[in-house]
Subunit: 228 residues, 2 copies
DNA sequence: TCCTAATTATGACAATTATCATTTATTTTT
DNA sequence: AAAAATAAATGATAATTGTCATAATTAGGA
């Protein structure tokens, strides 16, 4: 089994401030998991007793609305962590984390995390900063959902997906989402999302290659996202 | 000047775990402010060097959208605190806090707060819990903004306003908001908000007495907010 | 590989929501 | 108290978005 002291996670996020000893402790207690596409890492309402480090793979964080529709709140990729909010706030998980592809994930028991929080103020601070940043982004999202038309939100989402996942060797945004998932991200009907994507393609702003999306004119998208 | 050891804030929020000594320290360094209706306690993008304790009065937390429209993210009342996210994350303030009526506010310098954070893990934990709860609520708000029609969001907002501010001696929701502010809360045009309020009145779900709103049928509102 | 199921796409139409214009009511200022 | 400014209300209309139906395409399993 791999050793946390050499883990790529160390380069990212809150974990970069952990000491060698702390990482050794993590190594001793951690479990490595394979999460298959479509499976949940965490489930809304469940309690959780540890931290998940995403080694590899992508997942979506979703919320089930009272009307039964899924809302995608955030995307997660390798190097990100999951579950720290729940550990810190001592509350059940608020979102579903569903794999968009097969994932490799490490689970570190709550006890070890809490010890590091106690011993290592910088680690603890970094976790808080992470949650604060998420709150800040969430507030922006509320504002955009409330006030921007669907077209603008789609443009915004495409830019943000490229930002998060980068592009593959064909310059396509490096994540596979169904049209329904795109619709559930921007908060619209699947048909509307499809139609607006088709329009963007017709205007040569993006190209559609099956499920793959290639941004052709980033400036145009930026303008659309700002309402022009 | 009043003494923090007897302050009503002690009964609320993160501050209830502060020791007598800590409160004495706060007392020595705090400043009391009067914020007039319409004035800002904090302004988006500014940095902040302390914590605001709301003694009395109400304010709105807003965000200015790229299109120039104001989005109301949250309402704040006596007993709430402001600025702790910014202190903890060491980032500028993310939202404007604008007084909806004259307010009494105490300002406690950052240094004292940081000392208490260092000395008092429970205080620190409570601040984190507060931010976590806000994140959780924000995620719910994203989902509702994205997926619920304006009518449902209005119903939801009315219920939540009564929840937050309670009712006055005439059973009206105890906060004065303009129609525009209501519209900016639910994310719609002012005229749409006015029309939907009129409809709710016509259906005897609410009553409108000038700017005051009285909920007549809470169950009906609840049903509407859930899409029935 | 074929078959089935799911996804994507598109048209037609209905419902929702925004915008503009105008009137009425309420607040604020003089 | 009157005048001016602001806010609320309402109608008419346009734009956006959702829903339903159906066809075309793609993906996944036997």
């Amino acid at each position: 089994m791999s050793n946390c002291t050499h883990c790529i996670m160390k380069r990212f996020n809150a974990l970069k401030t952990l000491t060698h000893d702390e990482l050794e402790r993590f190594s001793d207690h951690k479990t490595s998991l394979i999460i298959k596409k479509g499976e949940n890492i965490m489930t809304e309402g469940n309690s959780i007793n540890g931290l998940y480090c995403i080694q590899d793979g992508k997942c979506k964080l979703t919320k089930l609305n009272t009307n039964g529709k899924e809302q995608i709140i955030k995307f997660i990729k390798g190097g990100d962590i999951l579950g720290h909010r729940s550990i810190l706030s001592e509350e059940p998980v608020g979102l579903n984390a569903t794999a968009l592809e097969d994932m490799r994930v490490c689970f570190i028991p709550k006890g070890d995390i809490l010890e590091s929080i106690k011993d290592n103020p910088q680690f603890s601070l970094n976790l808080i900063k992470n949650i604060s940043l998420q709150l800040s982004l969430a507030n922006t999202a509320i504002s955009q959902m409330a006030q921007k038309p669907v077209k603008d939100r789609l443009a915004e989402t495409l830019l943000s997906l490229e930002e998060i996942f980068g592009v593959d060797n064909e310059d396509c945004i490096d994540v596979i989402l169904t049209r329904e998932e795109i619709a559930n991200t921007i908060g619209t009907a699947t048909e509307s999302a499809i139609r607006l994507l088709s329009n963007l393609k017709k205007d040569h702003v993006i190209d559609l290659l099956g499920k793959k999306i290639k941004i052709l004119n980033k400036n145009a998208l930026k303008n659309i996202s700002e309402g022009y």
